[in-house]
């Protein structure tokens, strides 16, 4: 019974991990006014959709910043990277190809959301697994705490029994 429960838990963990993998959040961000202004230098090609530039820039790490995307960073390097994104899109590259260009140059480190394969899966699965394990532990503990305990029958001291009997007998 207990083994079956564990199996079910393991299955739930696997399914939970998969569903996260399937969702694959692209994390498109809403551009702030400042960032939007910074993404539009004068040499912008008119045919490039700025929303696409922002969507690509939001996926990429600003290489000279601490945990900022190319979209959000006010640094000169990020501005140059946005210009490169815009130029490559204007040259007819698909957004995925532009992202792949940066990955080819910097490795997957450049991606703010690690791709869901291999060791990276741990990043996606660990939170779900942790929550599930936590829930399982809480469930087990709750059940243990709330289960009515069958009290063992305590043997009554024969002397006490005798005394009770005597006192009952002595009642008028």
């Amino acid at each position: 019974m207990r083994r079956a429960g564990l199996l079910a838990l393991a299955l739930a963990v696997l399914v939970g991990g998969r569903s996260v993998e399937a969702r694959a959040p692209e994390a498109p961000r809403l551009a702030t006014g400042v960032a939007a202004a910074a993404t539009g230098p004068a040499n912008a090609a008119p045919t490039v959709d700025e929303e696409t530039v922002r969507r690509v820039a939001a996926q990429l790490r600003c290489v000279v910043c601490q945990n900022l995307s190319v979209l959000d960073s006010p640094s000169e390097m990020a501005a140059q990277m946005r210009a490169i994104i815009r130029e490559r899109l204007a040259a007819g590259e698909a957004p995925e190809q532009v992202v792949q260009y940066f990955v080819a140059k910097y490795g997957e480190w450049i991606l703010l959301s690690p791709r869901e394969h291999g060791f990276n899966l741990l990043v996606w699965a660990a939170p779900v697994v942790s929550v599930l394990v936590g829930l399982a532990v809480v469930a087990v503990l709750l059940r243990r705490w709330t289960r009515p305990r069958a009290r063992p029958a305590t043997p009554i001291d024969p002397a006490l029994r005798e005394r009770i009997r005597r006192e009952l007998d002595s009642l008028p």
């Binding site: 290489v63 000169e76 140059q80 990277m81 490169i84 140059k105 910097y106 480190w109």
Partner: protein, 173 residues
């Protein structure tokens, strides 16, 4: 069984932490090592063009620096100049690329260290991104066939320069 489950669950977490703390988050392996170096054409501060194509057949040391990069760039500049002078007659080229820099500050840096190898700005950052540069100084050792063989993050010393260049010079063209 439950008695052991909670202490045991700490083991993978400890393992992950042990791995994570031993990895330097600033040391990012370049995917470019072993691959052909991206071609570039740069206009140097003194108005000459320098391209990777024109250096084909030579060992190329491509150094990314900035005048604001203190102290690492200030430490390596004399070592680069010394090494360049020592190897310039032996089919070795050194090219400096000033990134994210003001032209006047970069020129002053070149003058202060009497740098005699070609140095050029990268005004639109394309060469920097083509080489996956994320900080300064970074130096790429490119073999005679035009392949990136080593990326050095941080200052280049005389020893490192000699070791890498001698290795590449010893290979057939």
């Amino acid at each position: 069984m439950w008695r052991w489950l909670i202490p045991l669950s700490v083991v993978p977490v400890l393992g992950l932490l042990a791995y994570g703390f031993r990895v330097n988050p600033r040391d990012i392996p370049s995917p470019l090592v072993g691959r052909p170096a991206a071609p570039f054409v740069l206009r140097t501060f003194d108005g000459r063009d320098v391209s990777l194509e024109s250096l084909r057949g030579r060992v190329v040391v491509l150094n990314f620096w900035a005048s604001w990069c203190y102290p690492a760039c200030y430490e390596e500049a004399p070592a680069l100049e010394r090494s360049w002078r020592a190897y310039r007659g032996r089919e070795v080229s050194v090219v400096g690329v000033a990134i994210q820099d003001q032209p006047d500050a970069a020129r002053k840096f070149i003058a202060d260290f009497s740098l005699s190898f070609p140095n050029a700005p990268d005004p639109d950052g394309k060469v920097s991104v083509d080489y996956g540069v994320y900080g300064v100084p970074e130096t790429f050792f490119i073999d005679r066939a035009g392949r990136i063989r080593r990326k050095q993050t941080g200052a280049v010393s005389d020893d490192l320069f000699r070791r890498e260049v001698e290795k590449l010079l010893g290979e057939p063209a």
